[in-house]
């Protein structure tokens, strides 16, 4: 067998080769316009950067503090999204119960909710006067104005992205592998750990990347719920917003950093993602 070229599957996951695409030519023009619509504003930012001051602007104490805070809180929020979102996606994709459609719609609410309203909602829940405020205080937990609040705000807005993309991956993977694994004697927990999760790992990864990117850009809910204090709650978007008041050049430079970090994360995740399974 050795020396023989591997059959079918590796080819299946390869990118479509050059050749017949089946797309009408005008479609490429419209697609190019769409891409331009996204890329042109980004290019405009790059053009506006004052490169001579760039290193100084992005390495100021406040900028570094904001970048560090953004990276750590977004990572924590992504972890929370995975922990809370994976079971949700599994339940939504693999089980059927009354009210499931309604639950799915509700879970996706943060997507349409203005982030400021999300922040207010979190305040009404975890704030001092909020639903859980008394309980939390009795436990000695103060959330408002803490880094925890930032993570909660980011998780709130980012969670739907993980649930959506993981549920999609689960649905397209189907339940046949799980059925086979169960008849091989694997308990539901073993099936989840050794079959389901590895199968949808690419979907989970892309969901996590989307969540991270959303958390990284989160502004409104953070400002409303967590406040803004250097090194504690002032993430990169909040720092950019504040810098704009006094130094628009710094704001532009930091925006570019934010874009670069997001591009880097998405790019890395894409490279390391295993090929999609059928």
């Amino acid at each position: 067998m050795t020396g023989i070229r591997p059959l079918t599957a590796p080819e299946r996951v390869r990118r479509p080769r050059a050749g017949f695409s089946g797309l009408p030519p005008w479609l490429f023009l419209v697609a190019a316009l769409g891409a331009l619509f996204i890329l042109l504003p980004l290019a405009a930012v790059v053009v506006r950067v004052d490169w001579s001051r760039f290193p100084e602007l992005v390495t100021s104490e406040s900028s570094i503090a904001a970048l560090k805070l953004s990276l750590t809180t977004s990572a924590a929020a992504t972890a929370l999204c995975i922990v809370a979102g994976t079971p949700m996606a599994l339940v939504l994709a693999r089980s059927a119960f009354p009210g499931q459609q309604v639950l799915r719609a509700l879970v996706l609410l943060p997507l349409v909710l203005p982030p400021v309203v999300g922040g207010i909602a979190l305040l009404y829940t975890f704030g001092r006067q909020g639903l859980l405020g008394g309980t939390l205080r009795a436990l000695g937990v103060e959330i408002a104005f803490s880094t925890t609040a930032v993570v909660l705000a980011q998780t709130f807005v980012a969670l739907p992205f993980l649930v959506l993309s993981l549920e999609g991956a689960l649905r397209s993977a189907g339940g046949r592998y799980e059925a086979v694994a169960a008849t091989l004697g694997a308990s539901p927990t073993t099936v989840l750990r050794r079959v389901t999760i590895p199968l949808v790992l690419p979907g989970l990864l892309s969901g996590a990347v989307l969540s991270f990117a959303r958390a990284l850009g989160e502004f409104g809910a953070t400002l409303t719920f967590a406040g803004s204090l250097q090194g504690v709650t002032r993430t990169l978007p909040l720092e950019i917003y504040l810098q704009r008041e006094t130094d628009p050049d710094a704001a532009v430079a930091l925006s570019l950093v934010l874009v670069a970090v997001a591009v880097l994360v998405v790019g890395l995740a894409h490279r390391s993602s295993p090929p999609a399974f059928r």
């Binding site: 305040l123 704030g127 104005f145 400002l223 406040g227 204090l229 504040l242 008041e245």
Partner: protein, 277 residues
């Protein structure tokens, strides 16, 4: 009917105040008064060559919304057929829009540096004039749960203030210099609206806001005055936008600086400009 045309950003930045102490404000004001002739008790209501159908566009700091809306109504009533288009947002947003060529006839800023930025760029007709002042005060949630009695008590409570980069934060810094009390807020917000919101919701024990904000939220927060704040007030400036502001622009400015405008501003909690009682 006042067709307000807030920019998309105005919702987010509504209520931004950016007054800042302006040295030499009185000189500027004197000049402005001389130009407008309102210092001599001239009645702006007399109007001067305002033709029917004139439309003027006023860009004003968000904190001026209520006062300017009634002033515009008055103005339109007195000049039938004329129309005042209002656009409220943070002062620096408005300045950026004017720099980019937005069709403004009048600009009212909540702080001096922003107005100076436009004046230096030659975008303001003549010298802008101070028409009101504002100062900081302490807002606490209903019932004052932390028992704040004065500025010195703010060190031991959950205090929310503006960031030093924005005018309301700069004002707080100046009060700290005057009083010698060093504050350590749990949050430094980019706008006074955020400060007020966190006091109203009870998340903060106290917040530093403008007197006008505390007054507007009178049912929801209690106010504890800071006597020292009077020593470091913030200036509100107004000017006609160059190069070709219509005559009506000056008429509207006169309405603001005139007795009717001043009465409304003071009702809202603003202090009169430096050289007025």
């Amino acid at each position: 009917m006042i067709p307000a045309a807030p920019s998309p950003a105005s919702g987010m930045r509504a209520g931004r105040r950016r007054p800042r102490h302006r040295r030499g404000g009185s000189a500027v004001l004197a000049c402005a008064l001389a130009l407008t002739g309102c210092g001599g008790g001239a009645d702006p209501a007399s109007g001067g060559g305002i033709g029917a159908g004139d439309t003027i566009t006023v860009f004003a700091a968000a904190s001026l919304r209520e006062v300017f809306e009634s002033l515009a109504e008055d103005y339109e009533a007195r000049n039938p057929g004329s129309e005042v288009v209002l656009n409220f947002a943070g002062s620096s947003d408005l300045a950026t829009q004017i720099e980019a060529g937005a069709p403004a006839d009048v600009f009212a800023s909540a702080d001096a540096p922003t107005m100076e930025r436009l004046a230096e760029a030659g975008l303001i007709d003549g010298e802008p004039g101070e028409f009101a002042r504002n100062r900081l005060t302490i807002a606490v949630p209903q019932g004052n749960p932390a028992g704040v009695k004065g500025f010195a008590d703010l060190t031991g409570v959950r205090l929310v203030a503006c960031a030093p980069q924005v005018p309301c934060g700069a004002a707080a810094t100046r009060i700290q210099e005057v009083t010698g009390v060093r504050l350590s807020p749990v949050s430094e917000e980019p706008s006074v609206t955020e400060v007020l919101g966190k006091v109203i919701s009870g998340e903060a024990d106290a917040g530093l806001v403008y007197v006008t904000d505390a007054l507007a939220a009178a049912g929801e927060v209690e106010e504890i005055p800071i006597p020292e704040a009077a020593e470091v007030p913030n200036s509100y400036l107004i000017g006609a936008v160059a190069p070709d502001a219509p005559e009506a622009a000056q008429e509207f400015i006169d309405t603001v600086t005139g007795s009717a405008g001043q009465a409304l501003l003071q009702e809202a909690g603003f202090q009169p400009p430096a050289d007025r009682p």
